[in-house]
């Protein structure tokens, strides 16, 4: 590896064996005795390199291979093929020095013990990472200041709100001051304010310690707020690696207008925009409209149709990505 790159990934591939069976009782019995396996390529010859201090967004629909890639980079998974070097280490050798220099934070998994206050789990991490008392106090002071932890750490984790818990999870994952952070959906399930605070924290952490951050998220806003560079993975393959600005120019000039309309089938909406599928399958009708026309189309809709509800939103990240590779 070269000095400039802190992470080098080459031909990284991971194939899972997944047992599969047809539906129905007979198939269930058959598979109890004889399993059929299918190979699923979760990550397929992925290449990239990352410089120290970069914040990179990992994008892709569910099952694209983002989490698998992060797990390989943190060392949890052995790849089927290819190699990766992070700070000169091969992650899956799980060397102590390597593990002390990185962190993996997963929004959907708990590192903290349920029954005790987060502060006690922090102390445990101090012992695990062998952090001296002075350094530990200093780090805790800084994390407290950045995350505004306050008294939250003194309450048993089970009594915390999701947002409070995530702050504590972040603190727990950062007590050893890792220089490379792998974050898998760190803002999942949080409300807008809490998301914003976590983002603010990550930006500041990156700035202060020049930490390298790789982040996956379902919320486009996380990525746009934090990452100048994005890597897109789709079906395990690397589809795009470059500036976020470039990507948005390519695919984001669309807005999705949701229209609440009685007997929508009676109206011809083709004149306003292309029909598209909504996120939650509700009764709204969704139209894809070029961004610069969004305002004018909205006012036309309101003026010409008996509309009782209207929403304007960015297209969901899945459809953005879907579009990026279709068009």
């Amino acid at each position: 590896m070269t000095i400039e790159n802190i992470i080098e990934v080459k031909d990284l591939s991971k194939t899972y064996k997944v047992s599969e069976r047809d539906s129905g009782f007979k198939a269930a019995v058959a598979s109890f005795f004889k399993r059929k396996f299918k190979d699923v390529k979760a990550v397929d010859h992925v290449h990239f390199s990352i410089r120290p201090g970069e914040m990179v967004g990992f994008l892709g629909p569910n099952g694209a291979g983002k989490t698998t890639t992060l797990k390989m980079l943190s060392g949890l998974l052995n790849p089927t093929f290819g190699h990766a070097k992070v700070m000169g280490y091969t992650p899956w050798e799980l060397r102590g020095e390597y593990l002390s220099a990185i962190t993996l934070i997963m929004g959907q998994r708990n590192r903290l013990s349920w029954d005790i206050p987060a502060a006690d789990s922090f102390l445990l991490n101090q012992a695990i990472y062998r952090i001296g008392d002075i350094e530990y106090k200093q780090t805790m002071r800084e994390l407290d200041e950045l995350l505004e932890l306050g008294d939250v750490v003194k309450k048993p984790v089970r009594n915390l709100s999701l947002g409070e818990r995530m702050k504590c999870e972040l603190a727990a994952g950062l007590i050893h001051r890792p220089s490379v952070l792998f974050l898998d959906e760190p803002t999942i399930g949080l409300d807008i304010t809490a998301q914003a605070r976590i983002r603010e924290f990550l930006r500041e952490y990156n700035r202060r310690y020049n930490a390298t951050i790789i982040l996956t998220s379902h919320y486009m806003a996380d990525v746009t707020a934090l990452c100048e560079r994005v890597i897109l993975i789709h079906h395990g393959k690397l589809m795009y690696d470059g500036a976020l600005a470039e990507l948005s120019r390519k695919i984001a000039p669309f807005k999705v207008i949701g229209v609440g309309l009685e007997n929508a089938a009676d109206y011809d909406l083709t004149g306003y925009g292309e029909r598209t599928v909504g996120e939650n399958g509700d009764a709204m009708v969704y139209l894809r409209v070029p961004a610069e026309q969004a305002t004018s189309v909205t006012s036309r809709l309101l003026a010409e149709l008996p509309i009782h509800d209207i929403t304007i939103a960015d297209p969901p990240i899945e459809s953005v990505i879907e579009q990026a590779f279709q068009g």
């Binding site: 899972y16 797990k71 949890l76 052995n78 002390s100 590192r111 013990s113 445990l124 695990i128």
Partner: protein, 262 residues
Amino acid sequence: MRRHLNLIRVFLKINLQMAMAYRTDTFVNILVNMMWLGWELLSLSIIFGNTQALAGWEFGDLIVLLGVFRIVNMLMFIMIWPATEKFNTSVRDGSFDYVLLQPVNSLFVVSFSRLTIWRLWDLVLALVLILSGLSISGGNILWQNFMAFLALAFSGIIIIYSLWVVLIALTFWFTKFDNNVTILHALMDAGRYPVMVYPFWLQLIVTFIIPIAVATTVPVQALHGSLSVLQVLMYLGVGAASFVVAVLFWRVGVRKYSGASS
């Protein structure tokens, strides 16, 4: 080594706090435990109200055996049950990933991070039992027999621990395997009496398959000098070997986990 001792100190502290957070539970547990001991002693005294010896063992010997059994049992309750529960949950919900990513031996963390502290109280009871058993049976204990007793009791505990490690490591292959330790539990109580009282087939099981007898009957036999030096060494060797096998098995399991989990 110092780091691991320090970690055990922190684990103890955290678990003590947890025990105190659920203080009613802790209190009731201690009470129930006392009642069990009373029941065990009562049943022994009923047996000895009717007979002088059980499979050649006198009352005092059986009290010593009960003391040793309670130490092994204590290990089960202090460490093995809570650790198993936590481990099974962590594999299922994925938090085991975090255990693997800590720069500490994962088996060490799995073994010691969850401890039911109040059970340590059992140690006092067990020692009282062992000492009173010794004084009841009278006679002098040779110091070399006593050393063999200690070494074999320790090695017996290691054997039970190793077996446990293998059983929970199987979870890496069969993700859903919550009954992994049930078999250990089912046969545990057999350690309460000298192995000779059981039918032959059960003796074989508790000696070779779930070697609870090796952890309880065998040390007490050594105390009375009824084992040859060769036998003592052999049992110690089995203890050391099973530990090595268990640690290797664990490693293979972890590698399997990293190979397949998603």
